[in-house]
Structures are given as C-alpha cells and as structure tokens.
C-alpha cells in the first residue's frame, strides 16, 4: 500500500533508516534524496550502493549511517548486486527459507523493497554494463542515480553526464578551452528503451513530485530507473545553503526537466504502450543563463569568447523541451 505523505513535516517524522549526520559535504543533495527515497515507503528497504560519495561518507568502519541492510561491493556493480540480493529473496521465499521477520512480512503479502544508489560515474559510465544487463533481465528493483554530473568523490573529473561547457578537473576551462565539449548522455531515454516499466527524472527541490515518482517506482513490477538531480556544492561551486535554489533554477530553465516514461509491459518485457508525462511545467521558463550564472563551474562561459556555448546550450535545452512536449502530446 502506498504510504500517504501530506507535507514535509510528516515526511521528516517518518521512520528514519538513514542517519543524516554523516561525512557528506554540508548542503549535499545526496542526503536529501536518499533520505526521502527511503522514507517514501513503510516497507523494509534493502540497499546496494556503488562506490562514490554516498558510499565513502556513510559506511566508514566501525560506523554506519544505514539502519537498513546495505551492501557495497565496487564502483561498477551496484545494479547486479541489488539484482542478486532480490533474486536471493525470491528463491528463499519460494523455498520457505527467509529469515523470520521477512517471512512474516511476505506472508502478509508485503515484500521487501530493493533499491540501488549510484552516482553518475557508477551509472552512466563504469557501471553502465551491469545496469544495462540487470534491466534487460527484468529484475525487480529500483535504481536511483544521484546525478551530480561529475566524479565528485575523486575531485571533480568529467563524466558522460557532465554538460557541455562545464569546467571539471579533466575538462578544465583554459586559455584555449571552454571546458567539457559534449552534451550529456540521455540516460533517462536509454533506460526507458531497455523496456523498464517506469523511468523518471526528479529534483529534490520538487519534493512532492519526487516522492510521487519514487512511490510509483516502488509499486512497479520490474526494473525502475530514477535519475535524480543532485546539485553538488563542492564541484558546482555554489554556497552550501543554495542547494535547493540551484536545483530550482535547473528545473525552471528546463536544463533538468521533470518527466516520467511509463512502459506498459508484461513480465516478458513485451511493451504494449509507452507514455511520456511532463510532471512539472515551469510557469515562467527562465533562460539557461540564470542557471549557469549561479554556478562557478560555468563562470568562464560568460567571457565574450565563450558566449556562443551559452547560446548553444539554450538551443539544446529548447530542442529537448520541445521534443518532450511533442512526445507527451503524441502519447509515445
């Protein structure tokens, strides 16, 4: 049964499975997203975590921030890890060998929820093969990408999620460079094209939208992908109190559009209907420039010789927004 959450206060008083007093940078969006994903359900949640900021900041022996079962193996295998844990659950349930509490819950018709968290490094890049394999096989879990568009844990190197024009430590802006050269990978569509029953993009600044999508994800049968914008105070270089404000600029400029893709499918992965819904339409779509101006990683774009990259980005955002609206209208 979907948990009823009416307001932020209620959400903040939920049964906490994640200790916020951890080693993450002040203002890190990861903490907000993870806590809300775990609190969006009353069912037990079991977590797999790719190597990255979240993992290194929350499970440093002898301490743990996780009051729910959690596993980290490596950088590139969170998806197969959670798939194997979920497979173990299925076989032990079938064989009647689940631990008592889990068996009791299963007898009541409630299942443990299986969630994996990875950064964009562990998701778009090094963990993509494992992610793709797990989605193709149709395991029952939710993968949440904490997308901060950079390898933040290791000092801000570019990833395939880094947007064009961003200055990172391996795509630095300089006398003859405007920073990252390529647009980011369209991970949401790629995962939807795996035939996932539910795929969505979220931002912690729109918490109701995020919770609603996460809850849809928990209800879906099969692999679910949630791409969460995780504004990074350290690498995007904004003040730590501005996390939500910067996230809102991303959403309102449509740099980070909020939408979902639903594949009506059966257990064999046959898709009968695909539907894309835009879940947030800015009343006043602000120029991309305002989003960029809030983050020193894009500071160099405001030099005269780099202004054309801002124009290019605006064009790319407009085209994508247009395409999303067309897909929504066409119901495909």
């Amino acid at each position: 049964m979907t948990k009823k959450i009416r307001n932020l206060k209620e959400l903040s008083l939920s049964n906490d499975r994640y200790e916020g007093a951890n080693l993450m940078c002040p203002g890190c969006a990861h903490n907000i997203i993870v806590r809300e994903v775990l609190n969006a359900t009353d069912d037990p949640v079991v977590v797999a975590n790719a190597t990255g900021c979240l993992e290194v900041c929350t499970a440093v022996y002898p301490k743990t921030s996780w009051d729910t079962s959690w596993i980290h193996i490596g950088f590139e295998n969170a998806a197969v890890a959670i798939a194997a844990v979920q497979t173990t659950y299925e076989t032990l349930k079938k064989q009647g060998r689940l631990p008592k509490a889990a068996q009791k819950l299963a007898d009541e018709g409630r299942d443990i929820k299986f969630v994996a968290f990875g950064g964009d490094g562990g998701t778009y890049d090094i963990g993509f093969q494992s992610l793709s394999g797990a989605f193709e096989r149709g395991h029952n879990f939710m993968y949440v990408c904490l997308d901060n568009e950079v390898y933040a844990n290791t000092g801000g190197q570019r990833s395939s999620s880094t947007p064009i024009g961003a200055s990172t430590t391996t795509s630095p802006a300089g006398a003859v460079s405007y920073g990252e050269k390529m647009m980011k990978k369209s991970i949401v569509e790629i995962m939807a094209d795996h035939g996932a029953p539910y795929v969505a993009q979220v931002s912690p600044s729109k918490w109701k939208d995020m919770i609603k999508k996460v809850q849809k994800g928990y209800e879906a049968k099969g692999p679910v992908f949630i791409n969460a914008m995780s504004a990074c105070t350290t690498e995007w270089r904004f003040a730590s109190e501005d996390t939500i404000a910067v996230s809102d600029l991303g959403v309102d400029s449509c740099m980070w559009p909020l939408y979902e893709i639903i594949n009506e499918r059966d257990e064999h992965g046959i898709i009968y209907r695909t539907k894309l819904n835009i879940t947030y339409r800015p009343k006043n779509k602000i120029p991309v420039e305002e989003y960029l101006a809030a983050q020193p990683r894009f500071k160099h774009l405001f030099k005269p010789e780099n202004r054309h990259i801002i124009d290019l980005l605006q064009k790319a955002v407009d085209i994508r927004w247009e395409n999303l609206q067309r897909r929504e209208e066409a119901g495909v």
Binding site: S69, T88, L98, A102, S130
Partner: protein, 405 residues
Amino acid sequence: MAKKYELNEIEVWDGNTAVSHALRQARIDVVAAYPITPSTPIVQNYSKFLADGYIDGEFIMVESEHSAMSGCVAAGAAGARTATATSSQGFALMVEVLYQASGMRIPVVLTVADRALAAPLNVNGDHSDMYLGRDAGWINLCAYNPQEAYDLTLMAFKIAEDLDVRLPAMVHQDGFICSHTAQNVRPLSDAEAAKFVGEYKPVNSMLDISNPVTHGVQTEEDWHFEHKARQHNDLMNSKNVIKRVFDEFKTLTNREYNLVDNYKLEDADIAIVAIGTTVESARIAADKLRDEGIKAGVLGIRVLRPFPFEEIVNALSNVKAIATMDRSAPGGTFGMLFNEISGAMIGSGKSPIILNYIYGLGGRDTTIEQLIEIYRQLDDCARSNQRKYPLQQFIGLRGPKLSFF
C-alpha cells in the same frame, strides 16, 4: 522441490560434467554465471538441470564475469549459498571482485577450468589464471582428474562455509586435459551429497530485516590492516578445517585427500613438484625411473592456499634435488612454485638443489619423455651434489633452448 537425479555407481564424466553435478547436488541458492571456454559446459549443464527441474535455486545468466562474481558476493551477503564457474579472461575480469569476496568474507565457490591468458589469445589449458588469483585471499584446491574435480567441489562448500573459515574457495582443474576428458567417476547419491555438504548457514543476512547489516564498508589506515590480518589469519587456520573435511569425506567415500599429494617420496632422492594433470604424468615418469633403480617421487599440490608449508617440508626433507614445475609465464622472474618451494625449504633449514621448469603454456603437451628428462637432470644434480643446469629452463619449446640464471 527439485527432482532426484538418478546416477549410476560409476559414471563416465569429463571434469566439467563432474563439476556441474557437484554444483547441482550442493543445492545452491543462487548461481550467477557467464560462459567461457573451457568451463562453458558447467554453465550449460547447470542451465539444463534447472530447465529439467533438478534445481530449486535461481540461476542468473549475467552479462559478464565481473557481474557473475559480483552477483555471487551480493547473493552470499543476502544469505544464499552461491557458486559460479569460469576460466582465463573471465577469471581475469573477475579479479577485482575476487578480492571483494574474500575481504567481505562471503563463502563463494568458484570452479575454474584453468586456461592461458591472452595475448596471444589461446583457449587451451595452463595455470595463468590460477596464478593471477593466487593472492586474492581464497582457498585454492587443485584437482588432477574428473573424480577429484567432483569431490573437491563438494568439499569446497563445506570448507568455505565453515563458521571458522567463512572464506571463498576455488576448485581448479586443467582446461581441456581434465575439463574435457571423460573418465570413470563415482558420484555420491543426491541425498548423500546433500547430507555431506549440509544446510547453508547464513551469517549477517541482509534479508534479516529485524537485524539490519552493513556489508562492504570503507576502512582506511586506522582499520584496514587489522581486517586484512584477520583475513589472512583465518585463511592460514582454515588448514585445520580442510583436513577435517578431507577426513569426513574419506569416511564417507574411502577416497583420501591430503594438503599435498605425495607419491613415493618416503625414500626419494629426486622429486617433481607440480599442480594439475601433470602430477599424474609425473607419477608414470617416476615409476619408469624407479624401474632403473633411481628413487624418484612426485609432490602434487592439492591445496595451494593456504600454503601447506609443514607438509611440503616434511615430504621433501630428504630429497636431494627438486624440480618445481610452473605452467604459467613467469613474467620476468622465477615461477611461483620455485619461489614458494625454495622459501619453504630454506625457511626450514634445508638446502636441496631446486630447479625451475616452465612448461605447457597455452596447452602445449607435456610428454612423459620430457618429465623423464627432468628427472635425469635432477638425478645428475643429486649424484654430484652440484647444480649442473640453469635454475630456470623452458621445456617443450620450439627453437633454441631457453634458460635463465
């Protein structure tokens, strides 16, 4: 409930078939696997057993060996008995996760049909993959024939899962020479095998929601060393559990296993030390030398890790000249067996003549004649009490003789 598989008292099985039946009989909860030559038939047979209703557990046909081992580690953490099979490049792709399996103390069983590592690409048997993983913190058991591959696979579960051990275990067999060579194998019945292996005892199961657990933490300079030291300590001490399981297996089957497999070493002057099918060839060569009155013996490494130091030293204590046979490209130094046997002998105050032979790379056949020639060199050294040959020689190699040191 899985169907019972009717087996004959004696089956004609190759190593892969033998291992796949051992895996079936061990009642594994989750197998995550990716096929690779020459271990592919293990994965195929297991799939067929599942399709025909002989298996209760789950099989995840993953997209790579990296995911295969990752899946096994995660399933193990969730409370599953788990195993997989691989060879060569697949083994190499697993290496990162081999260390994670042992460091996280997940008793995965990995059956390896050992094969050369590219480049050049080669599908045939040698021990390059075994050597690549030897420091990964796993128990390493070595079979020389299909019967042993079957027996050791069953025993591997019991050893790895023992609560005093809780470490992953590999069972090695030579690619093709053992994995694809059919021989008589006496299997246990399904019921006997299940009883021997026993029920899986989960430790810190992730699915015990009344007691949440954190698996795979970070430790830096303040705790990492203690974790690795404890892990090494438990691997060293697993020797006792291995011996106990070998004894229990002997009681059940009358088939005897020891940490090292000694052949006519009691009075031997010269000995070959080897791993795998070559041990059996060396026994034939030793007998031929003995026909001439030369006291030759063979030491087969049955348990490579934990290293059977005392057993090796005891078995070789009166041997005058030893050939250490390494079936892996030594990569710029001596072969592993040379280093480890030399270390063991010197460490116990012995100073026999020890030579290193590199052989059989990429499936190159090693003949009885070549082994006899090795014994003749050893005999020459033993009689004169002089090292008359280079420390390292390549045997069975085309072209001019290659040797070093």
